[in-house]
Amino acid sequence: MNSELFRLAAPQAFFPVAGKMLPWFSFLAGALALAGLYVAFFVAPTDATQGEAYRIIFIHVPAAWMSMFIYVMMAGWAGFGLAMNTRLSGMMSSALAPTGAMFTFIALWTGALWGKPTWGTYWAWDARMTSELVLLFLYLGFIALKGAIQDPARADRAGAILALVGVVNVPIIYFSVQWWNTLHQGASVSLTRAPSMAAVMLLGMLLMALAAWMYSIAVALARLRRIILERERDAEWAKLQRSTA
């Protein structure tokens, strides 16, 4: 088992495995998203106070969860790669970053469109929203740093250091913004009153969250395959792979 894992840590060995896993995760993502959307739009009843607009949370909450999970996973892979000097880990963190940034953007966008009809404002400097915005900046910094360094090995290690510093900072940033928000209480809107959640809403959200997981894994695997091919372009097997693809 252990030696099998070590074998898979080689990009060349992981490439076909990722290719085999890809359709399964894509299929699961599509099926779960369809089920989740069905629950969100046809099963879940209209909310008494928020009307139809609350249906946004079925995409907003899973996207917000994913944006944070992916950052932690990215930092985890990056740190693992830094400690163990495995090439695949760095590629994995590169493959996750754009998807994480995309989910962060979706969380911000849908949050704004949910906030307008619910609280009467697109944007409030609330701790959660502000931290999410800073998280987007952290993703963009990570992607920009990796893109600016030519040598892939150096880019991986520099990115890993940045991701680790960032992951230490995210909770501190959240806490500091929350602290700041209590000081300026008059200016902000209280966003703490969450609507009480019915079981069917929870089901819809769970399905959508699972779909987001599967989607992230599928896209990360596809991007990982692309990165592996790019980095190993001079290796014989990669040339063969490209000529047959």
């Binding site: 920009a144 740093l145 600016a148 090995a153 913004v177 602290w179 000081l183």
Partner: protein, 221 residues
Amino acid sequence: MTGFLTVLRRELRIALRRKGDALNVLVFFVVVASLFPLGVGPEPNQLRAMAAGVAWIAALLAALLSLARLFAADYADGTLEQMLVAPQPLAAVVLAKICAHWLLTGLPLALVAPLIGLQYGLPADALCVLLVSLLVGTPVLSLLGAAGAALTLGVRGGGALLGLLVLPLFVPVLVFGAGAVTASLIGINPAAHLSLLGAFLAVSLLVGPWASCAALRVALD
């Protein structure tokens, strides 16, 4: 320890020979802070309310400007490589450079800031809090900024990239630093803000030099 002192003395001596560099950062800080009222209007209450934020943002930008040069010269002429293979630990060298950076930018900036506060009509106790918050907070800018400077060493588009990397990390400093002044303005004891700022300084003291050393090793690999 001797390594630390040697590097610190060297950095300060170089800075003394090029006084313009440190002075420019200070002038930049004053100019940025002085331009804000021209943009938002001279209403005294409004200016008083935003004084701390303006001083802190100007300090962040000034730190950012000077950070780009923190390792660049030593990297270009190969001194950094020598420091890496020298017997004294790299952490001592990095800490000395961070220390020198703070002495040359953070400290003068903090000492000038009360003058800016006067322009914005801050009362005396708020001026004191501004001074203390900058004294506690600017070392964080040097510590975390050094990591950013090391990460962007020899990378194309380094300046803007450095801003993108480190400015989000400075959010807690900005919040606690400016918040301390605002708190004292509205009659709340700023001690809580300042101790949180101190706690963040302690965290940066652990994270900053580690990340800088690791990033320098990567850059010089």
